[in-house]
């Protein structure tokens, strides 16, 4: 009896001490990365917090998007949080990263514009297409044909085309506005600066007002596509999104710009 209690107390103590120790280890790794440029420390931080990303991603499962895709998007939020973390903050990395990860996932769903109701089977097919296209592009060294995607997913080309159309549905509402039309960003999600890589694109040229309405990431994607002439597959690699996602962002961004010009 006492032995059981003793083990229970120790276990509780371990649990109580563990988050504090983990937080301190995170701080040391963050210091090594931000002050010493140790990218190994950054990688370790990513690995340490991937379970958090997986846990948050699971909340958004079953909405027509593959869990692994949601996790991938969430991981981008985690990386941004690690890169933007300021050492003087009195907050743990997990606390700071959570709204970043959730924000990235929410943005992903907003970008996909799932507002239009479509049959679940098509949503599921669309969800699995993204991974299939990435796999086939890697295997074939080129963008796959519809027949190849259909074969990979054991379905018909017609269903793939329909699923493509489902995935291409989008809304032209502001990228910072949710389906309700109201600002959805958690105040914590806006902590930190915009991604420096995307911000730099602003310096390239004076932007026309229509382009300025876009988020830095979307502007950079348009620049890569229409200034550099890069194919979607390469853009997808550079920005860490799937090719289908890049395609949707291009279409949506152009539609937003067109709307802006008509205002």
């Amino acid at each position: 009896m006492s032995s059981t209690n003793h083990q229970g107390v120790n276990s509780d103590l371990r649990r109580a001490a563990s988050p504090e120790r983990a937080r301190e280890e995170d701080r040391q790794l963050l210091r090594r990365y931000h002050e010493g440029g140790d990218t190994g420390a950054r990688e370790e931080l990513i690995q340490r917090h991937l379970p958090l990303v997986r846990s948050l991603a699971r909340r958004y499962a079953g909405r027509g998007e593959a869990l692994e895709d949601i996790e991938q998007v969430g991981a981008i939020g985690l990386i941004k949080a690690i890169d933007r973390f300021e050492l003087e903050r009195e907050v743990s990395l997990a606390t700071y990263a959570t709204p970043n990860v959730v924000g990235e996932i929410k943005r992903h769903f907003r970008d996909k514009g799932w507002a239009i109701r479509v049959p679940r089977a098509l949503q599921e097919l669309n969800a699995s297409m993204s991974g299939a296209i990435e796999r086939l592009t890697g295997k074939l060294g080129r963008s796959p044909s519809i027949a190849e995607i259909a074969e990979e997913l054991k379905t018909t080309p017609e269903e793939v085309l329909e699923a493509m159309e489902v995935g291409s549905a989008y809304s032209t509402v502001s990228l910072s506005t949710g389906p309700s039309g109201e600002e959805e960003l958690d105040p914590l999600e806006t902590i930190g600066d915009e991604d420096a890589e995307f911000e730099r694109s602003e310096d390239r040229a004076a932007l026309e007002p229509a382009l300025e309405r876009l988020a830095p990431r979307e502007r950079e994607i348009l620049r890569m596509r229409f200034e550099e002439g890069l194919p979607q597959t390469q853009i997808a690699q550079r920005v860490g999104l799937s090719q289908m996602h890049v395609s949707r962002l291009i279409r949506k961004s152009l539609a937003i710009m067109r709307e802006e010009l008509l205002r």
Binding site: I133, I146, A147, L161, M164, E165, S168, P231, T233, Q243
Partner: protein, 131 residues
Amino acid sequence: MTNHQERIDLEAPLSGDFQAVVRLIIGGIAERVDFAFEEIDDLQLAVERLLAEAGTVGSVQFEFEVGENGISTSVGPLSERKVAEALADGEFVPGQLTLRRILETVVDSFGVEEADDDRIVVRLVKRKGIA
């Protein structure tokens, strides 16, 4: 474009509700000539941006000439002034994104033909295996 060609004609309302149908049909046609996912996406985007300049009233005709090497797509008649302005030639300025620039990027070539009533038809050529 190639010796053996099939032709498909389509007339669709300009209203936005039917643009998804047009996209689906373009996908279906392009799939028949084994276009890659990205090539289909390019052609769909070209037509979509062209239609965005054409307004939402009335209808538009599409003529698809499908060959072994690619697809030639005619879209029109379209209001000359609006579309011609959007397609106007000019030096590319970084930070600006015109319809002309978009079409130059996503199709292999395009041209403008005159139609009745001071309107125009835009012909887009997308070849296979170049994307």
